[in-house]
Subunit: 470 residues, 3 copies
């Protein structure tokens, strides 16, 4: 069911080379410098719940596809917020959720989700039969039985997966208690936080005031001015670094960077504190903070990641009922050349800065991102993100950026997932696609064989290791 | 001349699978849910005119290419509007038009037009020789002779082509007399109208006032207010449905949707009636009508198609001389994520709505359209449209949308043509390209063989059948 | 090291056809209708300097990649402007510059630069060993020895490269003295200037006033008004034509064209003369001049080239220190459909005009450029430019434009380079990629073999010859 040549071009010349290149890196340890695994899982090391609550309910990659074909989210176990219930009954029986999912598994044909899940079922859970409505129950039982055993606890899987480093994504006001517990436990797994202060930066987000209050408590600073706000962020970065963080991350609507005057920044901050800031304020505040965050990275050495261009919670009524991460974040056009210029002019040639750029707008690969990475010493291109984290998406990325910025200005792979058991499958796809891409270059005499052998190692391990300073 | 393996990848593994998949669907009946065939042709069932007036003069896909290389439109038999004649003589001899076309047929090398026409000549008209300046006259005679026979009348071809349903495109004020005559004739061909009220919606279009007058006459409503205008559109939809319509279509500059207040909509309507509306009025009026049209679709079940992003009649002087559809409609950047949000939030999860989105801006495939279709239950992606209705265009579509929204959120094929005898060739290209795309996925072990066999049937027939509720 | 099948698809069917098609044109003379070779080089015909000053220091394609990985420009021999020196020592030893370059040559893996340079080393300089840190010194000596011989002087190489015509790029105020010296020398090489008046058109560029002064001196016109400015440009065009020019070129931020009133144009001109023009003035002035330049081309027959969409000198501090052409020109989104409409409506159907459009924004290939070229008789599509002048870039260009505008609306190849010894390698890549693209079409039965044989000649020679009226 898992063909050893999967994802390789069927041309015999390419396939043979791709297979050989892939096999050089197939079992390399996994570097996971950006993702969304819950650190509590590894701190607690409790058994995973049942198959549906492990694989379906928490994964908006998965349930959105059934929703798109008319399956109510309630039927997949998603529960509306209190007061927002509809006539639709919330399914609580995990077996029935699993059955519904299995009956719709054909919807995923040709998608990465199908490939990851197939590989996860076979290689993690030892499930041989294809998943469909007829096999659902039997497979549920097989997985459930495995999950009850010690070998399927989070830390055991972490080790079995050969994860060398796993970085989580954490709010500026996260206490990192789970990271502290992992460190205190004596377990050798290398789990690190990543500083993602979005909630403190977006002054229009609901709960911003509370986030500032929490920030004040944690830092014991009286955050009455923009300067102290900055000092508080710096203090948290220092704390994150003390627990192993090597990077920050910023999810912004647009990558616009622009330096305000100190008075101008403070004026917006004060309006925001009085809940009087408007959309233009928020945009300029974020733009100014990108400048400040780059400065901080120059000073403290944390790698700066930028994930712009997702219109979050596009389906307002659904967001109102179910909250965020329901599969309705939709990309928008994203502009980097003009927006990032102030930041790059000021910090882009500084040897201390590494700025990893991501995009959901593939038209920027060859037009903006590769030319930027091919000039500014600080810039590295993050791997294809989200919808583009796929066979075709990764191939398009390499095809469109390599000729301008080469391989060495790219940042290696991120699995970017909250679906812990899918991590090995995700890295495996990336390693196969990079091997396949390199194999075509060898077959077309663009690369010598020894060059491809070095590059496949870089793509699987070296680039991520150096980019993220792991 | 027509190789049975045409359009299949030459890799032997892919080609063998592609051929086998294709042969499963090669002779399936044709569903034609969106196109521009003139229903009068099938109502009258008269013999077609000569080859030039059948194939060249009415087809702006074809004559624009000769124009782009300096051949005056008059030389191809196109006649300027009265008072707009130039020194250029209008060719009226169909043989000479055909000869000019044949002498320039090399311009189409590598284009879908060349492929469609070659297949049409061989399979519909039994012409074996390649078309060029030396064979033009002989081929003209061969086709002309065939056209004179009963087997080449429109209805006979309709049946020979195995067309199961053919939907035309009709103005809101079309009397549908031809559709009525077809139904009354006792002929079994299934021909249905599609409700396309563009002329009634674009308040700045020349003739809008007259269109409203005609609408008032046909509906016997006194259209003095926006509310009555809406009632008139609803009345026409009901009439279209009574003659078999299952869909509407809307050609808009931008897919912007936005709900106005009733008073706001009426105010624009009144300004338009007094010829005092401006461009901003027109944009907001269209945006509001998209909301209304979606509401109507929820209520009456007509599938809603949206074809945005064509800058019509880009060459103003040419338009002034020859009118519309002269090959100078040029695409523009199109934005869906923000523009469609109000419509999708309000109606996009309603089980009664099917909204088929088209684009001429391929950068939106992976960035906007596939993510929207992969979330909203109402959204389906229309097939590659116009310039993208081609081997490469269809391949890019599948490559860029499948990994995000799968196959089941796509709408199957539309031939979208006024060139009736080219219909089988157009469906054949689509079936071959889908088979080829699926074959690669099988060869790369992304799909199991049985999955591809089901999917090739869906792409050729099932998806269009269900999407368009045929 | 240079495989004869390089850049051909490894599929045996495609590769065999591609090789045969390529061999038909491999040794055709080179037409170089757009590039940046310094005509003084061919006027003087002095020996080239050492390998570093021939290959590295003048080529921002090359040194930007080392900069992007942290190598200071000074270390590559780039010298800051007086008063802008940093602590970084400027390397003046060409051997050490070459050594640094060689040690970083792996950065170019997969880029066209690697391919061009490899071929240049083997075929021009007869260097057999791969370039890296260990071979750098030996290869330096080999090249240096060759450069000292008469066979490696510019004119000798020009002849050995079989260059049939070489067009340079020259300011409106260039005296063309080098072109005059070439003509006067009796040497048979065909070297022609191209009229590129950017410095006279961009009223905000530093030095615009001086450029107008120089223009006045050269034309002996008192440029006190817009009308005389136009007359001065026309006078220079006439002078360029007298020295063989067949084309103009315009590097603009945006391709916006818009006709101002004579008074409006003059008012901006007067403000510019008083240094009181603003950004909006500059944009409208350029837009109006595009209209004027198109009119002039209609009148004098010079082919008009448009290179829009590069944000020049994006890294302001670097520009301030080192000046232009330092590898930090970054593309921006470019819009053609609306921007060019006034120009195309007025001149786009005129038989005297040829307008060659280039882009750095690949999303416009299928959306805007191919539809424009497939309609307007004046429009031809320039070859993939700059970052897209590469194997993948050229393939994407053909894939995305051919089905809409065919081959005959494209303009053939430009090498667009200042790196003289790389010219044959650049043409060779283009010929190989076109042959490979055509071979796939033959293998997929889209083209007949004889059609591909004609087209490969057109792509290598005929299209450039006719487009540029050489």
């Amino acid at each position: 069911m898992l063909d050893p040549n999967r994802y390789f071009d069927p041309d015999p010349t390419i396939r043979t080379i791709a297979r050989e290149l892939y096999e050089r890196v197939a079992t390399r340890p996994l570097l996971c410098p950006h993702g969304h695994v819950d650190p509590a899982m590894l701190a607690d090391d409790r058994p995973f719940p049942d198959p549906a609550r492990l694989i379906i309910t928490p994964d908006h990659y998965i349930f959105r596809m059934l929703y798109s074909q008319g399956v109510p989210l309630e039927q997949l176990g998603l529960r509306p917020r209190p007061g927002r219930e509809s006539a639709e009954r919330v399914e609580t029986d995990s077996r029935r959720i699993w059955q519904t999912f299995a009956e719709h598994f054909h919807l995923f044909r040709g998608t990465p989700t199908a490939g990851w899940l197939r590989q996860e079922l076979v290689e993690v859970f030892g499930v041989a039969r294809p998943l469909d409505g007829t096999s659902a129950e039997e497979i549920y039982d097989e997985i459930a039985a495995k999950l009850a055993t010690p070998a399927f606890r989070p830390r055991a899987l972490f080790e079995r997966f050969r994860i060398e480093v796993l970085c989580t994504t954490d709010a500026a006001t996260d206490t990192l208690e789970h990271h502290q517990r992992i460190r205190a436990s004596g377990w050798s797994g290398d789990v690190r936080p990543t500083f993602r202060p979005d909630a403190a930066i977006n002054i229009l987000a609901p709960g911003w005031g509370e986030e500032i209050t929490r920030l004040a408590e944690l830092t014991e600073l009286d955050i009455g001015s923009f300067d102290v706000f900055i000092a508080a962020l710096e203090s948290r970065r220092e704390f994150f670094r003390s627990l192993g963080a090597t990077a920050t991350d910023h999810g912004v609507h647009s990558p616009r960077a622009e330096e305000l005057t100190p008075a101008g920044a403070d004026a917006i901050f004060q309006r925001a504190r009085r809940s009087q800031a408007n959309a233009a304020d928020a945009e300029r505040f974020t733009a100014h903070l990108l400048m400040e965050l780059a400065r901080m990275s120059v000073e403290d050495g944390l790698v700066m990641q930028l994930h712009p261009g997702s219109f979050r919670n596009h389906n307002g009524p659904l967001f109102d009922r179910f909250g965020p991460d329901m599969g309705c974040d939709i990309p928008v056009v994203t502009e980097y050349t003009r927006n990032l210029r102030p930041l790059l002019e000021k910090y882009g040639s500084h040897p201390n800065l590494t700025l990893v750029l991501f995009t959901l707008d593939e038209s920027t690969y060859s037009r903006e991102l590769a030319p930027l990475a091919g000039h500014y010493p600080a810039v590295r291109l993050g791997p294809p993100w989200w919808f583009q984290d796929s066979r075709e998406g990764m191939t398009r990325f390499r095809e469109r950026v390599t000729e301008t910025c080469g391989f060495y200005n790219t940042a290696g792979f991120n699995d970017d997932t909250r679906a812990f058991p899918s991590i090995p499958a995700r890295h495996d796809v990336a390693r196969r696609i990079d091997a396949n891409f390199l194999a075509r270059l060898v077959a077309e005499h663009v690369l010598e064989r020894h060059e491809a052998e070095e590059l496949v190692e870089e793509c699987a391990y070296g680039l991520a290791k150096r980019t993220y300073r792991l």
